[in-house]
């Protein structure tokens, strides 16, 4: 009866039986008695008297009882009139190029008025763990066109680098900007955006900004809005990652996956867990949240002998700005660094409001340097970060015991910090900066410091790029902030 060919996996039952009636409905759960031969985690088709079809997943089988989680919720289901069939295979989706350039909902159904995705190949949305001994070490950059990221927290192909944000900050704007601009300098590149729990207004903005990239067939948008059923939200990133894995490892593409907002995703997981009556853990999130998040985040990487890669940028809002909250905490334990957005930087009018000192790309060292970005990149980044640490200390000291206590050098560091935010970090949400331009700006900023302060820079780099001590706020470094000079389009 199942119209869809199975893609390997467990054999299908001979003929999916329909079981009529349910002993219990409520929240996302439906309990069916008298079943036989139902496997754990397989798909159920739930039919209402109106003919409406819903999908469900088997959460537990015990004796002749199956507990089914209905993706669209159980609203409107009369336990006496519902009928359920089990398909004998896990939740899967067709794979192919047909996803590109289109907008889909969290279950992979079209949202753009186009035809449904059809392909003979199917993959289960949970994927399979990648054999760790087959992984290749991530070692090439992805350029986001966002100066502060490209210069100080370079994203590396195969890396997972989250954005930690707080309510009211422009993390969605930043995520959309990265989705619109990111590239790998001419190689095959695709973007898959999974939006979870977005408001309709945010979703509309996102679709608008990404329109041109979608039109060129390089982007897939999987859109789950705040009013979609929570179980579907749990599926959304899995659908997106399944599409991405196919494009990367079967079609040799470098794929960037953006997952926003992971906090909405985790709340959906919590809601489903509560409906299942599970023992709650920290802040009522289930104890398996770490493993659940890892089953998403670990789906990025590179595989030996494959040209493609999956790079992951999860975006999340820290409830109450608290980095020890389970969502950022567990994410941080899995990902390879983090980009932190800060209300303080936002208050000073800088976009993107990145708190550089708590930001780190753990894999950056492998992804930059000669032949990748530029020979002086790592030392330049280390020097800027060290200088920012020093200027922050100077600012704190000035706040405590007065600016008079500062040495002349400390004061130069404060000027450096101003120049840093004004000339390097601050950029427009629709401005894509090339690497040469970003380096140009970074050197302009570091040149605010006297040469003797550049203890981490090799002499050769200083000779090639240092522009002398530009102390004044209205020096040339500032001017480039107003009118970026057009730079060549070669990426280092």
């Amino acid at each position: 009866m199942s119209a869809v060919p199975a893609s390997g996996g467990p054999p299908e039952p001979l003929a999916p039986l329909e079981y009529s009636g349910a002993s219990q409905v409520g929240g996302p759960l439906l309990v069916v008695h008298g079943v036989e031969g139902v496997g754990w985690d397989e798909i159920a088709r739930v039919r209402l008297p109106s003919g409406e079809l819903r999908h469900g997943l088997v959460l537990e089988v015990s004796g002749d009882t199956a507990i089914v989680e209905v993706l669209q919720g159980t609203g409107g289901i009369d336990p006496d009139l519902v009928s359920t069939a089990f398909e004998g295979r896990p939740f899967d989706i067709p794979v192919g190029d047909g996803w590109l350039g289109r907008v889909w909902n969290g279950m992979g159904e079209p949202l753009d008025g186009g035809p449904p995705m059809l392909a003979s190949e199917r993959r289960t949305v949970n994927g399979s763990p990648l054999n760790p001994s087959q992984r290749d070490v991530p070692s090439d950059p992805v350029f986001t066109g966002v100066s502060v990221i490209d210069s100080l927290a370079t994203l590396v192909r195969g890396q997972k680098l989250p954005v930690f944000s707080s309510a009211g900050l422009p993390h969605l704007q930043l995520a959309t900007q990265i989705a619109a601009q990111a590239n790998v300098a001419g190689e095959n590149f695709k973007v898959v955006v999974a939006a979870m729990g977005l408001t309709h207004a945010d979703a509309a903005t996102m679709r608008e900004v990404l329109e041109s990239r979608a039109a060129s067939g390089d982007l897939v948008l999987v859109l789950d809005t705040a009013d979609d059923p929570v179980v579907q939200r749990v599926l959304t990133p899995r659908v997106a990652l399944t599409i991405a894995e196919y494009l990367a490892f079967e079609r040799d593409q470098h794929v960037l996956v953006i997952l926003a907002d992971m906090t909405s995703y985790c709340e959906a997981v919590r809601e489903v867990s509560a409906a299942r009556g599970e023992v709650p853990g920290r802040r009522a999130y289930p104890g398996y949240l770490y493993s659940d998040l890892a089953s998403l985040y670990e789906r990025c990487g590179r595989i030996r002998g494959h040209a493609g890669s999956v790079t992951l940028v999860p975006v999340l809002t820290m409830p109450g700005g608290d980095i020890t909250h389970p969502v950022p905490d567990l994410t941080g334990y899995i990902t390879e660094g983090q980009i932190v957005l800060s209300p303080d930087v936002q208050a000073s009018g800088v976009y993107p409001p990145v708190d550089v000192l708590s930001t780190l790309s753990r894999l950056m060292r492998k992804g930059v340097g000669e032949g990748r970005t530029r020979a002086d990149h790592m030392a330049l980044a280390a020097q800027i970060i060290a200088a920012l640490a020093r200027s922050r200390a100077a600012r704190e000291l000035a706040d405590l015991i007065g600016a008079d206590a500062l040495t002349e050098t400390d004061r130069i560091y404060l000027d450096f910090e101003d120049a840093f935010y004004r000339d390097l970090v601050n950029q427009s949400p629709d401005e894509a900066r090339t690497m040469p331009e970003t380096f140009e700006r970074a050197w302009g900023v570091i040149s605010v410091l006297p040469e003797r302060e550049l203890t981490m820079m090799p002499a050769a780099s200083i000779a090639a790029h240092y522009r002398g001590s530009l102390r004044k706020a209205d020096g040339p470094a500032a001017e480039t902030g107003e009118a970026p000079e057009p730079s060549g389009d070669d990426h280092g």
Binding site: G9, P10, E36, G37, V38, G39, W40, D41, E42, L59, E60, V61, S62, G63, D64, G88, R89, P90, T124, N126, G127, S128, P129, L130, N131, P132, S133, D136, V137, P138, G158, E278, V279, P280, G281, R282, G287, Y288, Y290, S291, A294, S295, E298, I303, T324, H325, P326, D329, G332, Y333, I334, E336, Q338, L357, S358, R362, K366, A389, L400, I401
Partner: protein
């Protein structure tokens, strides 16, 4: 393996929790195989004929009514000469030959049919052998001498011993007391392998990491815990120890952590050579990789499997270090399962057995006289990932009670890029006294005093910096200002150590002592300068960058180089007005 075993039926599946009825002759902790893919599952309880088991693979598609068979044994590791240099999952199934995507059933238990050059010991047939006696050796490609021992439960006369030559994995190499002894043996991973006698830890395990070796040293056969929030450097510190520890065998357990960093670590180990043997460091290392996206229940197995492998090499008379990154993921896996099986939760949802499980695991570290009468040791170092960085959470607070060393990682230090971010405030070593004795026997009798003085200066500098935040530096007397200066030197010249630097990644004990001596000599010199009337502000202006750069500008074992730099600095200071 399952020949003759009765079959039962699956009656309930909820993720990794599987219930089986109708299977008799099964003991608690035995492994049963469920479903058509014969997924291994460990029996955790038996009640009125109903077995509750935790599956080591994804159970999607497993149905009520599917067949379950007993493997008639507890979860066991196959131990033999193919382990070194290999990478395995939590059940010790080789990953190198496995497919790219690990679907259930993809991993085979048996190692590939390799053959090994067996060299018999010279023992006569008829000799009565005790457990642990050496039957022969296999020297692997890297020169490692692998001893084939009489298994712990075999005792009696040797009736046959194979001649020298190529021997397959499953070939019999000897018959003792009527029992065939293979190159490979199986051992149930949850049971510690027996020893003749436990010895007290004595000599330090040199890690080449100054903050450890100088301040919070660990002895061979002892234990250490490394708690720290994300990004504080747990993995980096453990991997430094993988590379530099003075042991013959390293077992690294990647328990519920990242795939990329394992790939990176393995590439690093392949590229580095063991100074002792000249072979690549991979060849002395067994990697157990159960990354966070691999089946959760195999994480629980992975720590026991890793420990069993370590004990196996210990029993050959080797010094072994086990690094478990991260033990929190193991504890969480236990929590996940106990909550699924409806067990009453204790603290933060962890099972009440958490504490005893941790204690029993850490107790398997030991320095011993083996059954064969030689000395061997297993040192255990476990990373802990406290939720929210909260050191009072159950895994951290319980583990700390059972370990001999604590290396606490501090988020503020890590954010200030002070690596390794081991805080001197909340770390300890209970073996410092015995290690001090050992240093004395090596002619470094000054070790104790230098260490004590440095720790005292660090503590005083900490106290003084909080005073300075209130009143400013100018308000401090000259001597206190020098203490602050020395505190900074201790942090920058000694405690900080770059894992990325060729010169600094490893630091020999002699160079460590020389660096510490340099900082303390400079401290004394500064004090004598202020006594001579030089104002503290002038002493603070002296360029001491030679001191902070010395660790990076001299070779890993260049103690003389450090001493030369010390003399240079002291001479320059002596010429201050």
């Amino acid at each position: 393996m399952s020949v003759g075993a009765a079959t039962g039926r699956v009656v309930r599946v909820n993720g990794p929790l599987v219930e089986v009825a109708g299977l008799s002759g099964v003991a608690a902790l035995d492994v049963v195989e469920v479903g058509p893919l014969r997924i291994p599952a460990e029996v955790v309880s038996i009640r009125d004929g109903l077995l509750t088991a935790e599956a080591f693979e994804y159970t999607g598609g497993l149905r009520v009514g599917d067949v379950a068979v007993s493997s008639l044994r507890p979860l066991s590791a196959r131990l033999g000469p193919g382990l070194l240099g290999g990478v395995f999952d939590g059940l010790l199934r080789p990953l190198a030959e496995a497919p790219t995507w690990l679907t259930p059933g993809a991993l085979a238990e048996h190692p590939s049919g390799a053959s090994w050059p067996f060299a018999p010991a010279s023992i006569d047939v008829g000799t009565v052998l005790s457990p642990g006696a050496t039957l022969g050796t296999v020297t692997t490609g890297s020169g490692f001498v692998h001893r084939v021992l009489v298994p712990p439960d075999v005792h009696g006369a040797l009736t046959w011993l194979a001649g020298p030559g190529a021997t397959g994995d499953d070939d019999v190499v000897a018959t003792v007391a009527g029992r065939a002894v293979n190159l490979w043996e199986e051992w149930p991973v949850r049971w510690p392998r027996p020893v003749r006698e436990r010895l007290r830890p004595f000599a330090p395990l040199v890690t080449g990491q100054r903050v450890v070796d100088l301040f919070f040293p660990i002895a061979h056969g002892a234990t250490a815990a490394v708690p720290g929030g994300f990004g504080t450097g747990k993995t980096m510190l453990l991997q430094q120890i993988v590379k530099w520890a003075d042991v013959e065998v390293v077992v690294f357990i990647g328990c519920g952590e990242r795939g990329n960093e394992l790939a990176d670590a393995m590439a690093d180990l392949t590229a580095l050579n063991d100074p002792a043997t000249g072979a690549s460091l991979r060849e002395r290392t067994v990697v157990i990789a159960n990354t966070s996206n691999m089946p959760v229940m195999a994480r629980v197995a992975s720590v026991y499997t890793g420990m069993t492998v370590a004990e196996y090499f210990r029993d050959m008379g080797y010094r072994v270090v086990v690094l478990a990154d991260s033990t929190s993921r193991w504890a969480e896996a236990m929590r996940e399962f106990s909550s699924r099986s409806g067990e009453l939760p204790a603290e933060e949802g962890y099972p009440a057995s958490l504490s005893s499980s941790l204690a029993a695991f850490y107790e398997r570290a030991s320095r011993v006289t083996t059954l064969g009468g030689t000395e061997g040791s297993v040192t255990l170092i476990g990373a802990i990932s406290p939720a929210g960085g909260d050191m009072t959470e159950p895994v951290t607070s319980q583990t700390v009670r059972y370990v001999r060393c604590l290396w606490s990682l501090d988020r503020d230090l890590a954010y200030a890029r002070h690596y390794p971010a081991v805080t001197w405030r909340h770390s300890f070593s209970l073996d410092d006294a015995s290690i001090a004795n050992w240093h004395a026997t090596q002619g470094r009798s000054g070790w104790v005093e230098a260490r004590a003085q440095a720790l005292a200066l660090l503590a005083e500098a900490d106290r003084l910096s909080s005073v300075v935040e209130l009143v400013g530096l100018g308000a401090l007397p000259a001597r206190e200002r020098i203490v602050l200066l020395t505190g900074r030197l201790l942090r920058e010249a000694i405690l900080q150590q770059s894992a990325m630097s060729e010169n600094d990644a490893y630091c020999s004990p002699a160079k460590q002592a020389a660096l510490l001596d340099m900082v303390l000599s400079v401290h004394d010199k500064c004090l004598s300068l202020i006594e001579g009337g030089l104002p503290a502000s002038a002493v603070e202006e002296i360029d001491l960058s030679t001191v902070t750069r010395a660790r990076d500008e001299t070779g890993p074992d260049d103690a003389e180089g450090v001493t030369r730099l010390r003399d240079e600095v002291l001479a320059r200071m002596a010429s201050e007005p």
